[in-house]
Amino acid sequence: MGQTPRLKVDIGGLKLDNPVMTASGTFGYGEEFSQLTDIDRLGAIVAKGISLLPRPGNPPPRICETAAGLLNAIGLENVGIKRFIREKVPFLRRCGTKVIANILGDRVEDYGELCAILSDCDGVDAIEVNISCPNVKKGGMAFGTDPDTVAEITKTCKENSKLPVIIKLSPNVTDITLTARAAAAAGADALSLINTITAMAIDTEKRKAVLGNIIGGLSGPAIKPVALRMVWQTAQAVDIPLIGIGGIMTATDAIEFILAGATAVQVGTANFINPGTGEDIVHGLSEYMNRHGTRDINELRGAINS
C-alpha cells in the first residue's frame, strides 16, 4: 500500500503509462468517445482499421446480439489512409495517450505500403496489423490462418515500418502457436490476440441469416474463455509481448489475461456497453494491486501457478 502501483508497460518498444487500450473498430477514431470518457487515462487507443482505399463495408444488417456476445460483419468499412491522416490523426495527435493505427489489406504489398505511409505520420506511435481479412489472392481464406502468409506479411511490415509492429492474430485456427511463432520469427515486435471468432445467427421467422453478410465475427464475454486459452498457449510459445483481447469487461477480466501471460490488454465490445470501461479498468488494476501488495504490474505477467 502507500505507494501507487506502477502500471507502465513496454510493448516491443512502445512505452505505455498503463496496459489498458481500446480495441480496433470499437472506439472509432477516438473522437467519438472524447465527451464520454477521459481518454487520456488510457494506455493507448487503437484506431479503427484502415486500408489504402476507402471501403464502403458490408450490406446491413451488420450486427446482432447473441448470448453474452456481439456478432458483427461491418466489412472493414473505413475512410482510407488519406482521409485517416487528414481528418482523424490531428485529433489523435492532440490526445495525451499513445495512438496505434490498425491496418488491413487485400494483398501482402498493401500492408507494406500502409506501414511506410504511417511511419512518416506524426501522431501514430505503433502499427497493429489485422491479418484476419480475406485473402483475395487465395480465394478468400483469411491471411491470418496460414503461418507462411503471416510470416510474409510480418516481414513486409517490418521492412517498411519505423514504428513497432504488432501482429493481430486470428483465433480461427487449429493451433494459434503456429501463427504466433511465424510472426515472432519474422520479427514482429508484439502480438495481439484475439480477433473475433467466425460465427453466424439465423432469424427463424424470416428464415434468413441475420447478417447481410451471412457470416460475421463473434466478440464479447462469450469468447473470453477461448481468448484466454489462446493467450496462455501463445505465452508458452513465444517471447515477445502479448496483448490480450476478448470479452474484457472488468479489471478482473484484464488481470486474468495478464496472469495468462499478456503484457497489456485491449477492451473492445465493452466500450459500446459502458464507454468508461477502459478508465474503470485502469482504476481497478491499481485497486487489485494495492489489495495484493503488488508494486509493479509486470510482476503479474504469467504469474499463475499450476
Binding site: 472509432g28 446491413p60 446480439e65 468499412e77 447481410g212 459500446f272 464507454p275
Partner: protein
C-alpha cells in the same frame, strides 16, 4: 454525454406499453425531437448491449421520458425498474428532426414510433405552427388509445387508424394522407414520420407521389449509438455507400434512403 439517471416513475399503459420518467437533467436539457438515448438495461451481460430509445418528453425539472413497448429482454428489464433504481444513459444522440423547414406539418406515427412524433408535435405547438395533422396508426384500439392520450392532454386531436378497425379508420396510416392534404397548403407542408420500416417506406412513396418533403426517423440495430461500431448502416440511395443511423440519422429525408435495401 453519459449520465446515471434515477427512475422517477414508471407506468404500465396496457398493451405491453410503458412510460418511464428518468431524472437526467443534463441530457433532458438539450434534447430535441427524434434525439435518442442508449439505455443500459442490465448491469450484467443479459442482454449485453444497450438499447436505443427516442426521447418522448424532456421536462424543465430535468425529467426525461421514454415511451416503450415490451418486446424482448432489454425492454423487459426496463419494465421492471422501480422508482429510485439507477440506469446508465448516453445521450442525447443523433440528428433531430429539422422542424424549421416548413410552415405546416403532417405528422405520421406507427405504433410506438409515436414517441418522437409527440415531442415534435409539442415543439411545433410551442412554436405556434398550429396547422398540424397527426395521423397515428396501430393494430388495435387497445394499442392506439394509450399512445394518443398525451396528445389529448395538450389539445391535439389525432386521426387514428387501426388494422382491425376497432378504433378510427380501418386500415393503414397512408389511407389518411390524401384526406389530410385537403386541410393543408401543400406548397408549405412537410411530412414527419416514424414507425415500422414498411410503413415508413409506404409513407415515403406517397410523399414522393405528392411531391412533399418527408423526414423519417429510422430504426436499426445499434451497438454503440455514437458512430463507433459502424453497425447501424443503411444504404444511401444511388450510392454504394452507407449512412450510419446513429449519427447521420436517425432522421433522414425519405428520398435519400434506398428503401428496397432496408430489411424490415
Amino acid at each position: 454525454m453519459l449520465e446515471n439517471a434515477r427512475v422517477k416513475n414508471i407506468v404500465s399503459l396496457g398493451a405491453e406499453l410503458f412510460r418511464i420518467g428518468l431524472h437526467s437533467p443534463r441530457i433532458a436539457k438539450i434534447s430535441r425531437p427524434a434525439h435518442f438515448v442508449m439505455v443500459r438495461t442490465s448491469p450484467g451481460i443479459s442482454p449485453l448491449l444497450c438499447r436505443p430509445f427516442s426521447i418522448y418528453q424532456s421536462n424543465t425539472d430535468g425529467t426525461l421520458e421514454i415511451l416503450f413497448r415490451r418486446l424482448g429482454p432489454g425492454t423487459t428489464n426496463i419494465s421492471r425498474l422501480r422508482p429510485r433504481d439507477e440506469v446508465q444513459l448516453t445521450g442525447p444522440l443523433g440528428t433531430p428532426f429539422d422542424l424549421g423547414r416548413r410552415e405546416e406539418y403532417i405528422l405520421i406515427a406507427g405504433g410506438v414510433g409515436i414517441a418522437p412524433i409527440f415531442m415534435a408535435a409539442k415543439h411545433l405547438q410551442r412554436h405556434k405552427r398550429r396547422n398540424l395533422t397527426v395521423i397515428a396508426g396501430a393494430a388495435t384500439a387497445a394499442e392506439i388509445h394509450p399512445l394518443i392520450q398525451d396528445f389529448k392532454d395538450i389539445d391535439i386531436i389525432c386521426d387514428i387508424t387501426t388494422v382491425d378497425g376497432s378504433a378510427g379508420h380501418k386500415g393503414l396510416v397512408t389511407d389518411l394522407i390524401t384526406p389530410a392534404t385537403t386541410k393543408h397548403d401543400m406548397g408549405h407542408t412537410g411530412i414527419i414520420c416514424c414507425g415500422p420500416t414498411p410503413m415508413m417506406a409506404a409513407v415515403a412513396a406517397r410523399a414522393a407521389d405528392l411531391g412533399i418533403e418527408c423526414q423519417v426517423s429510422l430504426e436499426t440495430m445499434m451497438a454503440c449509438g455514437i458512430s463507433a461500431c459502424l453497425g447501424c448502416a443503411v444504404a444511401i440511395r444511388g450510392s454504394e455507400k452507407y449512412f450510419h443511423v446513429c449519427k447521420d440519422g436517425p432522421v433522414f429525408r425519405a428520398d435519400e434512403i434506398e428503401w428496397d435495401r432496408l430489411r424490415d
